[in-house]
Amino acid sequence: MELTDWIADARNVVFLVIALAMLGSSVMVVTSRNVIHAALMLVVALAGAAALFLMLGAEFVAWTIVLVYIGAVIVLFLFGIMITRAPTKADPVRLDHKRRWPALIVALGTFATMATVTTMAFGDTPMPDGVSRSGDLGDVLFTRFVIPFEVVSFVLLAALIGGIVLARKDPQT
């Protein structure tokens, strides 16, 4: 498919804008010298992911991303940063390793491999139009996937208890 044909579809323009925003913000997440900025840039990347899910008709997943990630996980991260680095603006120690080239080579190699494989496998296969089926998702979550659903809730409970046990002060010492 030619690039001009691809860009002629309005949805692809929307996709391109979202993808570029996600790309820039995620690069900022891994390169920013300010820890708070890195955490806040992750918000932009996750909001872009939520927008992509809306484009794909996965409405419930999109709003779960907004609620769970942007609402809860990022706040947790900000608390973690606040506890482990009290002066949040200056960075007295370096946040990155000095040698970045090996990591860059590994990341580029991973991307090249995955992009080549998916391009070879899918090429120009069109994506079917997304129809939001949140009701069906709820149905299937409580019928076919009910046991994994309960197991996941148990995992969350275990993580909750584990977090409390790890983070509280030891009473003996």
Binding site: A19, V68, I81, F111, M127, P148
Partner: protein
Amino acid sequence: MIVNQFLVLAALLFSIGIYGVLVRRNAVLVLLSIELMLTGVNINLVAFGQYIQDAFLAGQVFALFVITVAAAEVGIGLAIVVLIFRNRASANVDELDLLKW
């Protein structure tokens, strides 16, 4: 829209996450990069689920499970980071040599 555009974007996010995990020294930032990788995985899951037009919406269900497990992982991970910071007064991953001899 073609399928590949979502897959390439997900691969890009995953690779950026790998770079962050390898290059960052602060443990909180390593966890942030892991979140980036998981976001790429979620995009892949939802895109493939939409591509095969699954009657059971397995892609979206698994994306929800990944989100839940990621939330649990962040909770435990940050608790461990806070604990290490309390004991060592540092959250740098390359200063953690407790298991090295």
